[in-house]
Symmetry: C2
């Protein structure tokens, strides 16, 4: 089977304790139609988010602790800006859906902007925040991104805590499958749940893996990325210097693009010179919400760019 479907031999042997996730995807694509692959693919980012969540600490403190614990490098950008998750997602998506996909074509947002106030607002919405890589095959093409999501507390995504990873496969026959376990870092390297993925990503990043070695990477056609992703709900957090009429002006920008506000809340007990608003909006395609965010970011009262979370 490996030979006939071009599964490279190396994929057959998983590191002890690791899940042969690429092999599982490879076999799933033989007997089923995969619809989506998504996952929590970076243990360091997940550690930071869940520390912020469980201990109500700020991003900077959580990051420093992750570095002290050996989970994050001195330059943590690969982890917290989503690039490591993006590289892994790229391999998963190519394996699952075939065709060439460049990492640079995957919209990637990290968690650097997430603040304690967002975790707090998420809780108010019975939710929490996770950095999610997702690739979904639709009739209009592949929807793919790495970004922070607002996920319901009852969601499987929310159950992934600490330096753990999880990969979710959705297929017509298999329904939803989930693979969960430690990510790399600390003592767990070599026993990570997706060790094979980590190895391939490392080789790719180092330019050591010839594309020919990897099945699903042989296809000559590019994956078609969907230009207008399906509507989803969004969470926006604005940090502003208080002045009269802010809410009206923001609401007007949003209404102007036919986006419906689902909820709006001003966080109480904050100093006037640095207020936070949280807005959730009804489902709308990403380009539309991004234009609204661009317009909001241009307001003179904005102290930092809008934090945008996809709502699960």
């Amino acid at each position: 089977m490996a030979a006939s479907r071009n599964l490279p031999i190396g994929f057959e042997a998983s590191v002890a304790g690791g899940i042969p996730i690429l092999r599982v995807i490879h076999e799933s694509t033989a007997g089923d139609r995969l619809r989506a692959v998504h996952g929590i693919l970076n243990g360091t980012a997940n550690y930071i988010l869940t520390q912020m969540e469980s201990r109500a600490i700020e991003f900077d403190q959580a990051l420093q602790e992750a570095q002290a614990a050996g989970y994050a490098e001195a330059d943590p950008s690969l982890d917290i800006d989503g690039f490591d998750a993006r590289d892994k997602l790229c391999i998963l998506a190519r394996m699952a859906f075939g065709g060439r996909l460049k990492v640079s074509d995957i919209p990637t947002y990290g968690i650097r902007q997430v603040r304690a106030i967002d975790i707090h607002s998420a809780h108010r919405l019975d939710s929490t925040i996770r950095l999610v890589g997702s690739a979904e095959q639709t009739e209009a093409g592949l929807e793919v991104s790495v970004r922070p999501w607002l996920v319901g507390c009852r969601s499987m995504l929310a159950k992934v805590e600490g330096v753990n990873n999880a990969v979710f496969l959705l297929g017509d026959k298999i329904g939803m499958q989930m693979f969960y376990g430690r990510g790399a870092g600390g003592d767990a390297t070599g026993a990570a749940v997706v060790s094979d993925l980590i190895e391939i990503a490392r080789d790719l990043a180092a330019g050591q893996l010839s594309a020919k070695k990897v099945s699903g990477f042989l296809d000559s056609h590019d994956v078609g990325i969907c230009p207008k992703p399906r509507p989803v709900s969004w969470y926006l957090r604005l940090t502003v210097k208080d002045q009269r009429g802010i809410v009206a002006r923001v609401a007007e920008v949003i209404a102007h693009r036919d986006i419906n506000i689902d909820s709006l809340e001003q966080e109480p007990h904050l100093p006037k010179e640095r207020l936070s608003f949280v807005i959730t909006v009804e489902p709308v395609s990403e380009p539309i919400i991004q234009r609204a965010v661009g317009a909001i970011n241009a307001f003179e009262f904005m102290l930092e760019p809008v934090l945008l979370l996809r709502v699960e």
Copy 2:
């Protein structure tokens, strides 16, 4: 690797969409020390429990609906009395820990006695009920059983809903790994998450599998079952005909065995001729709680045997 460690060739090929769970365990045992394997191994029983949970219906109705939906056989005993889960657990445990283990040596309790009132009581304790097969290697031997557990709502076990299965592996290096997906039944057969396990169990039940074919089944020594499992907490539900002094007599039986009551609640709004009490007790080894349950069952006011749940 397969050859050198006696992994039968058949194990290498998983059914499309299925997780090669036995292969994963096999490889884990090569590079790691597994401590425990447990899982929700019967989709029908899990469907019944989660229907009772989400719709507050009685056991009989949930069972009838499972039969109508094609999840349960006309004789549902294999599913609801835990025998199917026991057969699968036996294979998992032999694979994980080596040595011979007879299914008849695995204490097995099903969900036939679980009632809506138990789901209700579980919710009051921020918990729910799952049928769990567990095998844990301890210094005193293997602790192994299939029984209903009271699991916290935030537990991974609680997140396994409907006809899904999940297998959890705990090891020194791997930490906790979880594999989740559809169980057999309905359209999912052949794409179940643990298809290989289901196949082997079927062959074993039919007497078609020679023990020699299965690695980990070659060992000549028996698995040593732990005679005195470690203390855990328990949930007891008593259904009684009300009369004076019931609580005192039950409490005395429990105190007599040096068991500490953690909580005691009489369900309100029930007819006097059929009252329910729920008692949770602090950690105690199973033989001790079983002796107390035996003594309670002998009381003349007991209308049915105590329902005993292990608390996660």
